[in-house]
């Protein structure tokens, strides 16, 4: 009898503990990949020391990556899309609100020098978005994507330009987007008046993005990539001879490509990477490497990657493109040729979740 009581006293907590253990153990079997914990870049140690200095964004915060460590810069807020002035002494970045976003001029430590645009308004549809700032090579103006003019439901980005030391009232529209497509984004100002940007269109075959060249304000310009290649995220090397871009050809995987810029057209492109999600490439200052964002694992959090470019083979010429362009003049970009040897990407960060739509600034 006594033995039974002792056994009962021992068994009850044992059973409770075992049952709880099973409950907790089942919890540990959950797939962790889908809800991976995200860390601030500043508490991580990059596994590779990137040459130079890079500015990038995560979750509305700006970070500087230099000598293999991250430093947070900038005041609190929803910051993104840092871009450098040509002399590398200042940044222009985007501060987003709930209904609008504005451009700010910052120093390299993230201190606000000047608010460039005032896009917030009390009436909801009087608000505006400003994204993708790029300072012109002469350092005098900033080009950006701005959702104006708006009519009714139509809200499309056009490329605008304004003096860096001026006011928004001096801003002028550069491009004329196709209506109800999302419009024109990511301007890359060239010396003089020329501009490369991403133009969106929608037709029976789907939604398309093309790199577009415009000689001057008001000019129609021409497509630099084929309609069905669906290229975007252009990044121009410092010497303005190579252009990196992300092309998806309507699929849910992307290719990272590089093509020589021959004046107003692109030469044969090399596919550096394919079959993944690659975003927002940026060039090293010597033009010999690219940085880009790509997710790792099932969690889908975007990490920073580094890719040293393979040497260009002399036989990298390619056949002419057969894909028709939506432009007013034929596409002059040759069809894609394979890279001579597959480059090996190096993962720089781990455990962070960098803003994939916010191109980094690197010098």
């Amino acid at each position: 009898m006594i033995l039974r009581r002792i056994a009962t006293i021992l068994f009850v907590p044992l059973m409770v503990a075992f049952g709880s253990g099973v409950y907790l153990y089942l919890g540990t079997l959950k797939s962790k990949a889908v809800k991976e914990r995200v860390q601030l870049p500043t508490v991580t140690k990059p596994s590779f020391t990137l040459p130079g200095t890079m500015f990038l964004a995560q979750g509305g915060r700006l970070f500087k990556l230099k000598n293999g460590s991250f430093t947070e810069i900038g005041p609190p807020g929803d910051w993104s899309m840092p871009t450098l002035t040509p002399d590398h002494t200042r940044l222009v970045a985007v501060l987003s609100g709930k209904q609008s976003s504005d451009l700010y001029l910052l120093d390299l430590d993230g201190h606000v020098i000047k608010r460039l645009t005032h896009d917030d308004a009390r009436i909801i549809d009087a608000n505006h978005w400003a994204f993708y700032p790029r300072v012109t090579p002469d350092g005098l103006s900033v080009m950006y994507s701005y959702d104006s003019p708006k009519v009714g439901f139509r809200v499309d980005f056009a490329v605008w330009t304004m003096p860096l030391d001026g006011t928004q009232s001096q801003a002028r529209r550069r491009t004329d987007p196709y209506w109800y497509t999302g419009g024109d984004i990511i301007p890359i100002p060239l010396p003089g008046t020329a501009l490369i940007y991403v133009k969106h269109s929608i037709d029976q075959t789907g939604v398309h993005s093309q790199l577009w060249y415009q000689e001057r304000t008001g000019a129609i310009g021409h497509a630099m990539t084929a309609l069905t290649d669906d290229c975007g995220s252009p990044a121009l090397s410092a010497d303005r001879t190579q252009l990196a871009m992300i092309c998806s050809a309507g699929k849910q995987t992307a290719k990272l490509e590089v093509a020589p810029l021959n004046g107003t057209t692109l030469g044969p492109a090399r596919v550096l990477l394919s079959g993944g999600l690659y975003a927002s490439p940026a060039w090293s200052s010597d033009g010999k490497a690219l940085a880009y964002f790509a997710p790792t694992g099932a969690a889908g959090h975007f990490q920073l990657w580094y890719l040293a470019l393979p040497a260009v083979a002399s036989s990298a010429s390619a056949s002419a493109s057969t894909t028709p362009s939506a432009g007013t003049s034929p596409s002059v970009r040759a069809s894609v040729s394979p890279a001579p040897s597959p480059p090996l990407p190096v993962q720089v960060t781990q455990g962070v979740d960098l803003s994939a739509t916010s191109p980094p600034a690197w010098f």
Binding site: L14, M15, G19, G27, D125, T181, A294
Partner: protein, 317 residues
């Protein structure tokens, strides 16, 4: 010896109790949200009888996916379906076909009269939506699954977000501001920027729900809905049974399906193995399959059945 047996039995019982407690939300949901019986009125066109017959295990089956505004603007279960997607799953060949039905498609409803097809659910729930689709599209539907807006947000967040290549800037100055707010008729501005990215639940909803600045309107939105569905499939492939209680908790009250737990489990199995190359996506774009029209002052989509029905027959045999 007796003590050993007793110990083993007690540990087994307590282990089972622990497992039962862990999967309790799944069992509750299994009873409350899955295996919903739907009585579909007989249809002369497809010869269906009530209730809906499910395909045998392993056989191809067709699911009608329904997505609704389900906020306080509507009476419970009398909501318009903003999204209707027919999905045919062929487990043996691992092929999947998705056909988006435009919400403004003007059709005869199973409950009588003609209206936009999104009204079918509001007049007669899932049964009316299924019957209306079956009669008009001459297709047999084995199962249905309904999800509310908040359910979609919570499910995507529970999966840790979805990875998509956003094709173009999705801008909307008149996006409904009706989630977790007291005033349900407001608007807000949204901007989803293009490129490969990781979308959380609320941004994924904005991406699939916005339609005002899309020249293809609801058709463009349908393409984005299919895109996110496929991204969800990729995420679902990483799940296992231990994730089910969290998913079920996230979907509480926001998800209903005629599928039993067995079918849901086999669907997850298919999701984890099929290839995106084996997915066929169909949107009934004008001018071939549909055209724009006006009926009783309403903007509607008019079906071109002569083109639609052969397409449906070929893909939903």
């Amino acid at each position: 010896m007796r003590l050993t047996v007793l110990t083993v039995v007690c540990l087994l019982l307590s282990g089972m109790a622990g497992a039962a407690a862990y999967f309790f939300p799944v069992v509750v949901a299994g009873v409350g949200q899955t295996g919903q019986t739907v009585v579909v009125p007989p249809s002369s066109s497809v010869g269906k009888t009530s209730p809906t017959r499910s395909a045998p295990p392993g056989a191809p089956f067709t699911v009608l996916l329904l997505g609704s505004d389900d906020d306080s603007k509507f009476n419970a279960d009398h909501v318009l379906t903003q999204s209707m997607i027919l999905v045919r799953v062929e487990p043996a060949t691992r092929h999947v076909t998705m056909l988006s039905i435009p919400r403004d498609l003007w059709v005869p409803l199973s409950t009588g009269g003609s209206a936009k097809i999104d009204a079918a659910y509001s007049y007669g729930g899932a049964a009316a939506a299924i019957a209306t689709v079956e009669r008009n599209f001459h297709v047999h539907i084995d199962e249905y699954a309904w999800i509310g807006l908040k359910g979609l947000i919570r499910m995507i967040d529970e999966l840790g977000g979805v990875d998509v290549i956003v094709t173009n800037p999705v801008l909307d100055d008149f996006y409904p501001d009706d989630i977790d707010v007291t005033y349900l008729y407001g608007y807000k501005r949204v901007a989803i920027l293009p490129g490969p990215q990781h979308l959380d639940g609320s941004h994924a909803l904005q991406y699939v729900r916005s339609r005002h600045d899309d020249i293809q309107g609801d058709f463009g939105r349908s393409q984005r809905q299919q895109q996110v569905l496929l991204a969800l499939k990729s995420k679902a492939a990483t799940l296992n049974a231990a994730n089910l209680p969290d998913i079920v908790n996230a979907l509480k009250g926001e998800f209903k399906t005629s599928m039993g737990l067995d079918r849901v489990r086999s669907l997850l199995g298919v999701a984890s193995t099929f290839d995106l190359a084996n997915v066929r996506q169909i949107v009934l774009l004008p001018p071939t399959y549909t055209s724009y029209g006006q009926i009783s002052g309403q903007s509607v989509i008019l079906p071109h059945w002569a083109q639609i029905l052969p397409l449906v027959k070929a893909n939903f045999p």
